[in-house]
C-alpha cells in the first residue's frame, strides 16, 4: 500500500534563509546542457581516463599500442615472404598486412574489452546515471583513437617500401565510419549478454580468433576462391578492409563487399541497440 501524504508538509515554512557559503543552486548548478552535450562530455571524460590510465602506468605508453600490430605484422611478413612462397596479397606485403592489421586491432580490442564493459566498471555504473551506452561507446572510441594514433606507422612503412598512395585514400574516412558503426553494434550486443552468460566471454575470444583468419588480413578479398566470394562478403570486415586497402592497392576495392558491409554494419547496430535496450534493466540489477 502506498500512503502519500506530502500535502502534510505544505504548512511548514520553506527553508529560505541562505548561509553565505552555499550559493543557491539556481545560480551555480551545473549549467543546463542538452542531453547530447552531456553525453559527449561524459563519453570524452571516460575515454580520456582510459587513455590516461593506460599511458600513465606504463613506461612505453603509446608504443604498446603499435608494438602489438607491428610484432604480428613482422611475424606474418617473415612467414609469408621468407619461409613460404607467397601467392596472396600485394607488394609490398608489409604495407598490405598493416593496412588491415591496424583496423583489425581496433575491432578485436574493442570487442574483447566490451565483454568486460559492465563487469569492470560495476562500481561506477552503480553510482552515476549517465546513459549506459557510454560504457560500450567509450571503449570503441578509445581503441579507435589508438588506431588513429597508429596510422603514422602505416604511413612510415608505406614510404619506406615505396607503396603509392592512390586517390582511393579518400575512402579511408568511410571505412572508419563503417567500422565504428559495426564495432559499436557488436559491442552493444556482446556487453550486456556477457553479464548473464559468462561463458560468452571465452566464446567471443574464440570467435575473434576464427574471424582473424576468416577476414582478409593476411590475404586479400580477391584471393578467395570465386565460389566463396559472395558469402565472404557477409563478413562486414571484408568490405571494410577492402576500403582501407584501396588507399594503396586499388585492385583490392570491392564495391559489392562494401555495400554488404554497410548493410551488415547497420543491421548489427540496430540489433545491438534493441538487445541493449531490452536487457538494460536486468543488467543494472545484476552488476
Amino acid at each position: 500500500m502506498g500512503v502519500s501524504s506530502s500535502d502534510f508538509w505544505h504548512g511548514s515554512a520553506p527553508r529560505s534563509h541562505t548561509i553565505d557559503r552555499v550559493s543557491s543552486y539556481a545560480q551555480v548548478r551545473p549549467e543546463q546542457r542538452t542531453p547530447i552535450a552531456r553525453y559527449r562530455h561524459s563519453l570524452w571524460l571516460l575515454t580520456q581516463r582510459d587513455l590516461r590510465v593506460r599511458y600513465s602506468t606504463s613506461v612505453l605508453g603509446y608504443f604498446w599500442s603499435i608494438l602489438d600490430p607491428l610484432v604480428m605484422a613482422g611475424i606474418y611478413w617473415f612467414v609469408f615472404t621468407q619461409v613460404f612462397e607467397r601467392s596472396v596479397g600485394n607488394d609490398p606485403y608489409i604495407v598490405f598486412l598493416l593496412s588491415a592489421l591496424l583496423p583489425w586491432m581496433w575491432f578485436t580490442g574493442a570487442v574483447s574489452d566490451c565483454t568486460r564493459a559492465f563487469l569492470r566498471e560495476a562500481k561506477l555504473i552503480r553510482s552515476t546515471r549517465i546513459p549506459r551506452t557510454i560504457w560500450v561507446n567509450r571503449l570503441v572510441l578509445s581503441k579507435g583513437i589508438e588506431f588513429l594514433a597508429a596510422i603514422p606507422v602505416l604511413v612510415l612503412f608505406a614510404t619506406l617500401y615505396g607503396a603509392e598512395l592512390g586517390v582511393d585514400a579518400v575512402l579511408f574516412p568511410l571505412a572508419i565510419l563503417l567500422q565504428a558503426i559495426l564495432t559499436v553494434g557488436v559491442g552493444l550486443l556482446v556487453a550486456p549478454l556477457v553479464v548473464f552468460f559468462r561463458d560468452l566471454e571465452r566464446a567471443v575470444k574464440l570467435i575473434l580468433r576464427f574471424l582473424f583468419y576468416a577476414s582478409p588480413i593476411i590475404y586479400g578479398t580477391t584471393d578467395l576462391p570465386p565460389e566463396l566470394h559472395f558469402w565472404a562478403a557477409f563478413n562486414p570486415l571484408n568490405g571494410i578492409f577492402s576500403l582501407y586497402r584501396a588507399a594503396f592497392f586499388p585492385e583490392q576495392l570491392d564495391w559489392f563487399a562494401v555495400m554488404i558491409a554497410a548493410v551488415m554494419s547497420l543491421v548489427f547496430l540496430g540489433l545491438g541497440l534493441v538487445v541493449f535496450r531490452r536487457t538494460e534493466r536486468a543488467v543494472l540489477k545484476e552488476i
Partner: protein
C-alpha cells in the same frame, strides 16, 4: 495518487507512481533468453521476489525525507531508483531535477589516477564542466583536508581519506537533490560532524534531501518527513516523529527505563 492540498505553484521534484522492482533470490540461478527478452510480466516468477512494490509518493522541493526500515527492506533500492541507477520493473519514477547521489561515492574514483585527476573526472561525470570544477577545486580539497596528497595516486590514500575526498566532491555538486545512503558511517567523528554541517548548509540553501539511516538522532537532526519501508511496502509516509514511533513499536528496542 496525487496529494490533495498541493499548492499549484510548487511542482514535485520527485514522484514515484506505483513503482515496483524485483530481484532474483538466487544470483546463480539459470537464466534463459526467454527471460531476458520476454515481456515484463507483473507476476514474479519462482526464485524472484519484489524488493519494492506499489510505492507511490511525491516530494516537493526543499523537503528533507528520512527513510527507515530494517535491513533488506528496500531502502537502498529506493534511493537507487530515485538516482536512476536501477530501473523499475513497473510503475514510473519521475525526477525533474539533477541528483547528487552520496551512494557508493568512491565508486567513480580510479586507483591509478591522482587525486586531482579523480576530482575532475568524478565531478565531470556528474555533470560539472572543467571550469566549474576548477573554481571549486580548492574548496573541495580544503573540505577533505588532504591538501598534501593532491598528486598522490588515489590508491595510496587511506580509506578514510578516500571517503573524505569523495564526499567533498559529491557534496559540491550543487544539484538540487541530495541522496545520502549511510555513507557517513565511516570517517572519524570530527569529519562526520563536518559532513553533517555541510548537509545542513545544503538544506538551508534549498536542496531536497533524501536520507537512509539507522541512526535516529541523525534522522531527527535533518528530516521533517519520514518514509517507513517494510517487506517491500511503503507502510507509512508522514511526519518523521510519527514514522519513527511506528517503526519503534514494530521493531524497536524498548527505551531503557
Amino acid at each position: 495518487m496525487t496529494p490533495v492540498n498541493q499548492s499549484p505553484a510548487v511542482e514535485s521534484v520527485i514522484s514515484l507512481q506505483d513503482v515496483g522492482i524485483r530481484f532474483r533470490r538466487n544470483r546463480r540461478g539459470r537464466r534463459n533468453f526467454k527471460d531476458l527478452f520476454g515481456p515484463r510480466k507483473r507476476r514474479s516468477r519462482p526464485g524472484e521476489f519484489w524488493a519494492l512494490q506499489h510505492i507511490t509518493f511525491t516530494v516537493q522541493p526543499g523537503e528533507a525525507i528520512g527513510v527507515v526500515g530494517r535491513n533488506g527492506q528496500g531502502k537502498s533500492t529506493l534511493l537507487k531508483l530515485v538516482t536512476g541507477v536501477v530501473l523499475p520493473d513497473e510503475g514510473t519514477v519521475h525526477v525533474t531535477e539533477g541528483v547528487a547521489p552520496l551512494i557508493e561515492i568512491t565508486g567513480g574514483f580510479v586507483d591509478d589516477l591522482s587525486v586531482r585527476d579523480n576530482v575532475y573526472l568524478t565531478a565531470g561525470l556528474h555533470g560539472m564542466t572543467r571550469k566549474q570544477v576548477t573554481a571549486r577545486f580548492d574548496e573541495i580539497i580544503e573540505f577533505a583536508e588532504i591538501a598534501d596528497f593532491i598528486d598522490t595516486p588515489y590508491k595510496h590514500l587511506s580509506s578514510g581519506m578516500k571517503v573524505r575526498i569523495a564526499f567533498a566532491v559529491i557534496s559540491r555538486l550543487e544539484e538540487p537533490i541530495l541522496l545520502v545512503d549511510e555513507v557517513l558511517a565511516v570517517g572519524d567523528k570530527a569529519f562526520r560532524e563536518k559532513c553533517y554541517r555541510r548537509i545542513e548548509e545544503l538544506l538551508a540553501g534549498g536542496r531536497t534531501l533524501f536520507i537512509v539511516s539507522h541512526n535516529e538522532r541523525d534522522l531527527r537532526r535533518f528530516c521533517t518527513r519520514g518514509l517507513y519501508l517494510d517487506k517491500g511496502d511503503l507502510v507509512l509516509d508522514g511526519p518523521l516523529a510519527e514514522v519513527l514511533a511506528r517503526y519503534n513499536t514494530d521493531y524497536g528496542v524498548k527505551p531503557a527505563v
